[in-house]
Amino acid sequence: MKLKKILALMTVSLMILLCIVSANAAETVKVGVLLPFSGGSAAMGQEFEAGMKMAVSNFNAAGGVKSMGGAEIELVWADSAGDPQTGVTEIERLITQSNVSALLGPYNSSVGASTVPIAEKYGVPYLITNSNADEILHGEHKYAFRANHANSDAAKNMVDFTLAMSERGPEIKKVAIVADNSDWGVGMAEALKDLANENGLECNVYEIFETNSADLSPIVIKIKQDKPDIVYAMCYLADAQLFTSTMAEYRVDSLIFADGAGFVTSDYLSFAGDAAEGILATNGWHVGLTEYKGEVATALNEQYKTEYSDGTNMNEFSASGWLNATIMCEIIERAGSADREEIRTALANFKVDDTDYSLSLHAFQGIDFQEVRGMINQNIYSGKIITQCQNGEYVLVGPTTLVKTGNFIWPVK
């Protein structure tokens, strides 16, 4: 009996304590960040966090928002758990309880889809970070913007590069499409299928599998029979490893061309070993870009290596976090206020070319939010780069408009 009383008392006090902890103070410009810190995408969430923290801390150290007398920017974090409903609850909290002036996030496309209308309703500018589904920016809206690529951009990059490889020869006639059943996987698979059809690439194997499958042999057996030249793959962590190793076990000649994700995490290559040799992967960013972008990029990567990670380079998630947080800092500087409307206007008018500081890391030609392919407020210069695993490391090989050395290896034996 006594134990039960204690138990109840503990539960109630814990709840009260948590309520107190959640109260906030401080006079800064608050930017809410919605990211997955639990659930399947938690690893990515942590990388974004690191990139964003670096961007903001650098900005604050350099004097903060000078047009506001050196006010600091404060990032307010929220865990979306990768789930649309949780995302909606947390974004409400950021907007109404933490009173943020703007929003960043949320990485998962489904969370993006569910939270954009909320930001719209309250009139909070929302710089969509990496939620790449085109659909998020469809329909009438004013407050959501995206500097990163859309799935349709990624698909176009992949097919364009495939055609470039085919042109140099040998010819590529057949592709296969393999994706997990997440919104990203299915969205990319559909976009790739359409583009493949448009460009005369035959596609017989089109497989959607359950995320975190126990066995991918049935798909690999099909691929082995069909003998496509290229296999477009959309997989997260465990599936990327399983697919790579299964393809190697069955000695399938087709070359994997992945849309980033599980294939470009920091551990993928070391885990996959020789089986990953020659694999192509799109990426939002790669350390090879520092050669093309120059000293600032190299310095930023060095800072990240020493201060924010245990010696590993930046990757697409940390770089994207840095990009979007830096854009946000610049926007707030231009707006000169913490007012949501003014920040939104500054975002809408943000037109820069590739010399802008925010594009120190990425190879976009610029940033310009326009209406394109049915999406409103999408950066028309966004896109992904192509890397290839050569001698155990990813090397920048595309797009061919950027990398003109033709250093991609095709065919891969």
Binding site: L7, L18, P84, T89, E90, I95, S114, D183, V186
Partner: protein, 334 residues
Amino acid sequence: MNAKSSLKRNCQMILFFVIAAAFPLVFTNSYFKQLGTIVLLYAFYASAWNILGGYAGQLSLGHGAYIGLGAYITTVLFSEFYISPWLGMVISGLMVGLFAVAIGYPCFKLSGVYYSLSTIALVNVMRLFFIAEDTIFGFKTGSSLGYKIEWRGTLIDMQFLDKKYYFWLILLLLAVVVFVSHRIKNSKTGYYLSAISTNQYAASSLGINTTYYKLKALFISAFFAAVGGSFYAMFIQYIDPASVFNYDTSVEMTVLAMVGGRSTVVGPIIGSLLLVPLKEIARSNLGASFAGLPLIIYGVILMLVVYFLPNGILPLFKHWYSIILRRRREDLSV
């Protein structure tokens, strides 16, 4: 159970709803209204589950199947046929109820554990089906990419700018399901169900048509689950298979009802009022820095409650309440 105590209990219930209705007027912050609505939604789910799981003793771990189906049907009716969700949720409730009975009829021949497993299979099949198929019965349901619900913003469309209307709506729905639960409990159906739940074979040997009553409980339970799903769709305005045909939510409903005290009317509500805010607040404060910690706390509390309070928390509260009453009576008599 005399007239006076049941009158007192009815008054307590009404008092609860009146106080709850005042909640969004006191806590005008939108986040609290959101949180409150979610808590009540889970209380609603748990109460709907309880009709089958508590009263009839059929431990369904796949109620998500009915929630999801209700959400999709109402969404399609709303988007394609412009049918108001007020009507839509009743239609989808009836359709899902019939579906549940059709599937449930063979499944009820299964004893306890086997039945639970079949419900797990059901919710997963529904989820996989809705992911695999982009278009179902000719309606574009969007597969993994989800179905966004258009904002039309009127009362007829069950879309409100101010969150407090959603809060009152789910409170109203909760009142309805509580009323229905109460009526079932005190009716012939309720007595038969509790007999079936205690010992199905003895009940059937007494001449009770166990299949009929179990199916009746299933129909009502699935009907309300579907209504809950319809509310969810109009509230979040975005549904996708993984979120609405959700095994974790199905288990959670069970947990809330059982921790609160199943086979009671208010048990599910008590369970939800205690556990859901705890989980949400833990996640908001700890989720970002300590990934996974909120659910660990949730799991540990569940284990503690199951271990020390096997009949749920409600009997404990009743015990405390009666102790307080007895003390007062003693004071008065001196």
